[in-house]
């Protein structure tokens, strides 16, 4: 693990540290939300360590805070996380081949980590980027959760700092290189439009899954499809 710091390009390191730091802020707001919903500290921390999927954690705690049943919180969170199945199919190559790497790397499969690794130009750098950002996001999320849960209501609303704009902007920036290909741009546009269209009427998680319908715009196989890694 030590060599990853020396062999990783500086820009990958810098960007991963920035995203990890942003995760501390969002993690703190999760910890504070859980504290205000009277979730015990140990359970809040366990959630961030073992679930490690921010959206589903926010959703589950919000359901509980609104007086919902734990089962509804679990099912809602699982629906939101269902997108990780197609993600695993598409990007499973980043985690490595050994069983310890697979079992641990699986846990680090977060949207930003996937987008970050995919946007690296070669497979070796992509694999390093996956582990680097995955580790930093995990540490950032959990440190943030602990700080937020301890500070409780003293944590300011992260939307005051525009943190809610930071992550979609970073994701889209990471997606830009892939969108230069015409079929990817068509699929992305149609998928995003489909998701936005159903958002007001569908439970959280379903709109993003429905974006897979955008694949109808993929068109026929391009001639150079053999060069895909």
């Amino acid at each position: 693990m030590c060599s990853i710091w020396r062999t990783t390009p500086r820009e990958d390191l810098r960007d991963a540290v920035a995203l990890g730091a942003a995760m501390v802020v969002v993690g703190a707001s999760f910890g504070a939300l859980a504290a205000s919903a009277h979730v015990p500290l140990l359970l809040t921390v366990a959630m961030s360590v073992f679930v490690f999927a921010g959206g589903s954690q926010f959703l589950a705690v919000a359901v509980i805070a609104a007086g919902g049943a734990p089962l509804a919180a679990v099912l809602g969170g699982l629906l939101l996380n269902l997108r990780h199945l197609p993600f695993g199919l598409a990007v499973g190559g980043f985690v490595g081949r050994s069983w310890p790497a697979r079992l641990l790397g699986t846990h680090l499969m977060v949207d930003e980590v996937i987008a970050f690794a995919r946007s690296r130009p070669d497979p070796v750098r992509a694999r390093r980027a996956y582990w680097l950002l995955g580790a930093l996001m995990f540490v950032g999320w959990n440190v943030g959760t602990l700080l937020g849960a301890l500070a409780g209501t003293a944590v300011p609303d992260p939307s005051r700092f525009g943190m809610d704009a930071a992550f979609p902007a970073a994701l889209l920036a990471l997606l830009l290189p892939a969108l230069r290909e015409a079929d990817a741009a068509r699929v992305a546009l149609l998928g995003a439009a489909a998701a936005l269209l159903v958002t007001p009427r569908a439970p959280a998680g379903l709109p993003v899954l429905l974006a897979l319908a955008g694949l109808v715009a993929a068109g026929r196989a391009p001639k150079d499809s053999e060069v895909m890694s």
Partner: protein
């Protein structure tokens, strides 16, 4: 939140992540299908961006957030480092909110 609920969410999430990964190891995937899987990931990420940028709790999130995202992406277009994209997007949205734009 109860202990079993956290355990169920953690186990279910982990198994969801693992199953995609294991399916990939099991199947020999033709090049065309592999491209479609890759495009599928692109569609999912694009939808995450769109819903995160524009919506909040099933409704419109207000203009400050998408405007900040747009500023960040404009910066990304100019090939600035990702850390700058993050700062521009967050700063833009925060500034708009200070000015009273929700």
């Amino acid at each position: 939140m109860t202990g079993w609920a956290v355990a169920a969410l953690a186990a279910g999430t982990y198994l969801t992540r693992l199953s995609g990964l294991l399916l990939r190891r099991r199947l020999t995937i033709p090049v065309r299908v592999r491209r479609l899987l890759d495009l599928g990931a692109t569609a999912l990420l694009a939808a995450l961006v769109a819903t995160a940028a524009f919506t909040q709790g099933g409704g419109f999130a207000g203009w400050a957030r998408p405007a900040g995202v747009a500023l960040g992406v404009l910066a990304a277009w100019r090939r600035v480092p990702l850390v700058v994209v993050v700062l521009v997007a967050a700063g833009g949205t925060a500034a708009l909110r200070l000015l009273g734009v929700s």
